[in-house]
Structure formats: C-alpha cells, structure tokens
Symmetry: C2
C-alpha cells in the first residue's frame, strides 16, 4: 500500500474498486439482524482493546512526524490516542450496541380507501463516504454508527493521522472476519493523495452520501467536487440573546456557561446580543464577570462605553467562530432586530434566547433559522448525547435530511412501502 | 424585461437581487399564520380563474412559436393550457388550502433528566429554486406548495413556456398584493438565458435548495453546478417481479395494469422479472395478452423461445425507461437474482413483487433499494395523491431528505428545540 504519488488513473480505479466492494458489502448488510450487527460491534470493541498497544505505537509514529512537521500543540493534542481516548472509543462502540436498531422501523402506516396499506420504512442509505481531519477516534465512531445503521463506509482521515487510522481499521476489519458482517463494510482509503478524495467524489451512483467533517476549506472543496449528496458540518457561531423580559440571574449563569464551560467546541457561545432595555448596571457587571473569567470582550459602541476593557468589534467579529475565550457583544433595540441579526451573522448552528415572555420565546423558536434553538438553556446542550441520541456522527449545519446532531436514524433513508392484495390503478 | 442576451455579470446581479428579495420574503413568511397563507392561496386561485383568457392568449404565443420551431406533438401537448388544465391548476390550489399546515408541527418531545424539554419542530426550508421544463401548470403547483410550506420560491420554467409562465406568475403576484404574503415570495426568472441557471446555482447561502425536474441532461447539469443541496427527480425504470409463489391471476392483472394503464408516466412498469418456476404456459399467455394490448416485448433467450413475436433484448433495454408500450422481460433462477437485478438495472424509483410468501415479501421490502416498494400492488400507485399527500412537487429519486412522492412536509426542515428553566452544562 503506497501512501502518496499514485497516478490519477490508478486512484480512480482504486476508488472505484473500493466503492464496488462497499456496494457488495452493503447489499449483504441490509439482510443482517440487529443481533448479527451487534455481535460484530462487540468483536470490534474487543479487537481495539486487544490491539491498543499496537494502535498506540502507530499513533506515536504519527505524533513524531507531526512534531517534526511543527504541528501546533492543539493539533497534536487532537491527534494523540491516550489510554483514556482508547477507552472512550471502546465505550462508544458498546453504547452503540445498546441503541435500538433503526433499520426496518415502519411508521405512518395507513390503509387507503382501496385497501392498499401504505407507509414508510427506514432502511440503510447504502455506501457512505466520511472525510475527516486529525482525531483518529472518528475512525471507530463513524465505523460503528455506519455498521449499526446497515451502511458500508469508506473512510478518509487526515494524512497526519494515517498510521493511527490504519491501525484502528486493521483491528476492526480483523474483528469482522470472525463475524457475519463482510470485512468490506468498513474500508479506509490506503493512500493520502488528495486526488483520491476527488476520485471518490465523482463516484455518483456508487457512493450515496459524503459527510465532510473539518475545516471550511475542506468542506467547500467537497461541495464543489461532489456529484452525490453531501451533508455539511460547518462552524458554530452561536448566539445568546438576552431579551428585555429576561430573568437576569438566569441570563448571567447561562451566558457564562455557554461561553466558558468549554470554549473550544462548536456549541459554545461566540456572540451575546442584549436588548437595550436590559439595565446597564447588569450588563456592566456581567461583562466584568466574563472578563474576570479571562474572556476578551469585543463590543459595539454601547458596550465599549460601558466597559473600558472591551475592544471595539470589527465587522468580521460578528461572523467569527472564535473557539476561544473571546465574546462579541451587541446591543439591539428590538426583538426583531435580534432575530434578523442572528439569522444574518450566525452560522445557523445553535442560538438561545433568555426571556420570561412566552410569546417571544415561541417566536424565537419559529423565526431563528438554526439547527438548534433554545429557550432559557445553554447553547452547550446542542449535542447528540444531551438529546438522547447516544452517539453522533457530527452536527449538521445543513437543513435537509439531517439538521443538528446526527444520530443513527440520520444515517438511514425512508422508503415508501405498499402492501396490497392485487390493487390496480384505474 | 429582456428575454435573452443579457451579459453574465448582469445575470449574476439579477439572480442575486432575486435571491435577496426571496430571502426577505421568506423571513416574513415564517411569521404568517396558516389562515393568512390560505387566504393568499385562495386569492391566487381566483386570480388564475379571472385571468384565464389572458393566460391562454399568452400560452397561444408559446404554442405558435413551438409549432414554428417544430416541437413534437407530445411536447406541444404538454405545453398546451386547455380549459381543463387551467381548471386543474385552480383545483390543485384549493386542495392545498385544505391540507394541514406543516409549519410549526412539533414531535419527539422528551424531558431530559435535567428537566430540559427537547424535541423537533418543522419549519420552512427558506428559499427554494425550482427548475422545470414544458408543463406550465408546474408554475402554479410549485408556487402554492412552496407558499403553504412557508418558503419563498424562484421559478425557472422552460423557454418554450416562457409567455405562459410569465402570465401565470403575473396573475399570482397580483393576487399576493392584496394579501399578507409578500409578492416576492413567488418570483419567475424573467430571462431565458441558460447562464441565469448557472448564476442561480452558485448562490449558496442565498438559496437553500434546488429541485430540478426534467430530462437527465438538465438534472446532471444542475448537480454539477449547484453549490447548495439538490433533490433530483430522475427516471422511473420500474420493475414487476413475479415470484415462484405468486398468485398467477393477480400477477396477470397487475403486470397489465402497471404496463398499460398509462405507459407514458414514470411509475409505469418498464421491465418484468419472472422466476423460472413460474409455469411457461402462464408466462406465454401473459406475453400474448400484452402483445394483444399493443405491447412490444423485448425478452431474454427464454422469453424469445417462448414467444416468437418477442424481440431479443439488448443490454441497453434492461436500463431503459421506455415511457411507451414496450416491456423488457427477464427470467431469473432465484429470488436473490431478482433483487440483485432490480438494484443493478433499476432506477431506484418503484418496484413491485407478486408473491404469496410472507417472508419473501418482507425481504423484498427490505432489500430492494427503491423509493417505493410494493407487494401485490401495481407500481402505478407510487403517487402523492395515492399516498394521501394531496399534491406533490415531484417524485424524488434521491435517498436523502425526500424519497419518492414529495409533499408539503418534504418542503420543510426539522430543527431541534430546547425549552429550559436555566439549565447549564456541567
């Protein structure tokens, strides 16, 4: 298996071959019982357990190369497979075993006047491509979610995690050889050439869905090249809006939690919008609390006048996902201005209102065009685990098919079924 | 308003302006009640009624140009707005008024251990682009479905129907001026340049979804150029499979209905698959019945040996959507071979099995990878009206978001909502 330098013709035939093997595996997967899939998942968990020192040795090769290439400490941290992360991968696998199998679920069954019973049935999507960066645990998470939902998966991790991902997939595929699940249900692209991604994105009809997770540049490339459907996972520029009728104590706790509890994740708040009727002394004291917690404030004129330590926000600040202890702060005159601001500057990920007014709470839910909309709760709850999905493939910022945290069900498609007794159309 | 010859810079700014007005309209639409939207729909129906002679005069211009250009009789027929078709447009509008409003529907509400109530809420997608060919009634149907589901729509009809579509949209927008719905909720691209489509397809962020309806070439172009999500409406190469355990009388009626009741539509059967255990005398007599009804048979070796009037099927026949009185016929040795054949040669639109065997019926539903799968019922039932949707925007051959007949609900997105009392993440 070569890592790079493969010709583009060879890459096309490599990818086509992988996609065809994945399709064949998918047609077997669709026939398996939940018990057969769960047995394979349990074997995968045991294989990662048994192979952990081998996986960590390969991870060490990636880390050494990363240090030599001068990767940032944050990147190296995301790349590292510590004992705790290996245990986390194994635990995720076992959590997915415990989740209900979405395949074959039927609903909305009705009997038509002619006696035809029609309804919907969940089934696997087929072959899914997942393109991701740095974190090698995605390799195991994505594999187990795809397998449980009856899909074959083609994985493309970051080149910096190549040896780690290869070791994990080798362990997993070894486990499948002892199970009823075909080994080719889970495949990793064995080269790091970027052209392999392009070749994969042109295999419409062979690959049903591609899910890119990573930086904006990666996702934009995938959208431009892909000929099949794509579910995007863009940034979270999340807002908290403190309404004129807010419980101010609740607002204080919520803003601090949304901003500081874990600032480096996509559902952390990046921007605070405050109604002009909120008393200045409260806003000044909240800004002071945030600054005491190490948060840099970038505010509009009103905010800068109130808090001398605040910097003036630039136009770019309003659209920024800082992933850091920085918060942009804007004062608005009306509820409508707040909603329009969030819809214009936000990333349609997660936004929250703090209010006592039922009518405004309901309007916020309806009018804010985001994947997750909260009333009087921290944006940090926008998470598959917190929503009871058990495990997530990511947080979709798309509006179609899957929006927000994507769980097992979002990896299925819904077909129409019709059960007749010889009905004919007239 | 020019029809063609606009420069590509002008087209880009034309399309951007339309998309921005659509977005502004969408942000108003989301706030309207079902009664306000229904009032606008009723006004639209009355405006088409009142404007029908004007619409038909403009349609006559398109028909005259079409005849001069030598359009086929089938194309001219699709283009013609007869009295009956105008009445059909008005009736569709009133049927959509009667349908339940999908916007604001909440479901899957649960209370998490921390007291946070989370669930799902349907909301409009936002701005939808619809690209279609010939039939001008799509202009009214798509407008009313988008409006009822709270979306702004940008319409791009075929150039051969330009005057008809313009007249319909003028009537509709005139009606909106007397209603609470902003006029820009419904816009028609006022030029016929193909580059206007390209300019529209690059407006990601401004237009949320594009639905192409028409020939394969059009759809492929849209998929290649679009930077937003697309829901495709490809062909129907529909199969009927007669299993070894079929009720043969039922099979005979069903095959004849699926093939001959209306051969020119996408849910008509194009291919018959027969298990080798089905008695030859039955198959011979079924083929004879079909030939008597004017159906041309293109068969495999077994079929051609049984029925001398059958032609030998070529490899292309197995993938063909004839939309005509032609049927390809193939004999298979096993159930598994039938399923694999359908998944390989079909277009994942609609397929049916005739069988008495419950186990095989259930396997067919699970294993055939199509939008609609029937047991002992004609493929012709794959239709929004027959499924109780009232009206459809088309029949999606995509697997994500909307699969099969697309109704009002498929024009909505589902956001997560969370109702809290100050919950913080720890």
């Amino acid at each position: 298996m070569t890592r790079t330098g493969t010709s583009s013709t060879d890459l096309s035939s490599l990818m086509l071959g992988m996609a065809q093997r994945a399709r064949a595996a998918a047609s077997e997967l669709v026939r398996l019982t939940p018990a057969q899939k769960n047995d394979a998942l349990e074997r995968m968990a045991r294989a990662i357990e048994a192979g952990s020192s081998q996986i960590q040795a390969e991870n060490e090769r990636d880390l050494a190369a990363g240090r030599a290439q001068g990767l940032s400490p944050a990147m190296l941290d995301r790349l590292a497979l510590t004992d705790r992360r290996i245990a986390g991968m194994i635990q995720s696998l076992r959590e997915v075993v415990a989740l209900p199998d979405p395949v074959g679920e039927t609903f909305d069954i009705q009997t038509r006047p002619n006696g035809l019973r029609v309804g919907r049935m969940r089934s696997p999507i087929g072959v899914i491509g997942i393109i991701y960066e740095s974190r090698p645990n995605v390799t195991a998470d994505a594999s187990c979610l795809c397998l449980k939902s009856g899909n074959a998966v083609i994985l493309r991790g970051g080149s910096e995690a190549f040896h780690s991902n290869t070791a994990i997939v080798e362990a997993i595929r070894g486990a499948l050889r002892g199970s009823d699940v075909p080994e080719d249900a889970i495949q990793l692209i064995p080269v790091t050439d970027r052209e392999a991604i392009t070749a994969m994105l042109h295999l419409e009809g062979q690959i049903d869905l591609v899910i890119p997770r990573g930086g904006r540049g990666l996702i934009e490339t995938v959208v431009r090249e892909a000929r099949m459907q794509v579910i995007k996972h863009y940034d979270g520029n999340c807002h908290v809006y403190i309404d004129a009728h807010a419980d101010l104590d609740l607002a204080r706790g919520l803003v601090i939690n949304a901003k500081t509890q874990r600032p480096g994740v996509c559902n952390a708040a990046e921007s605070l919008i405050v109604h002009a009727a909120v008393p200045d002394p409260f806003l000044a004291s909240l800004l002071g609390d945030l600054i005491d917690l190490g948060v840099e404030i970038r505010g509009d004129e009103h905010v800068c006048a109130l808090e001398p330590r605040a910097k003036a926000a630039t136009e770019e600040d309003w659209g920024e996902e800082y992933l850091d202890l920085i918060l942009s702060v804007k004062v608005v005159d009306t509820f409508e201005e707040a909603v329009a601001w969030i819809n214009r500057h936000g990333s349609h990920h997660t936004d929250a209102i703090v209010t006592r007014e039922h009518g405004l709470a309901m309007r916020f839910l309806a009018e804010v065009d985001s994947a997750c909309v909260f009333v009087n709760a921290s944006t940090r709850f926008s998470d598959g685990g917190e929503f009871g999905l058990g495990c997530e493939i990511g947080i979709s910022t798309d509006k179609l098919h899957a929006r927000g945290p994507m769980g097992l069900r979002d990896l299925t498609t819904v077909k129409w079924i019709g059960l007749g007794t010889g009905q004919l159309r007239s």
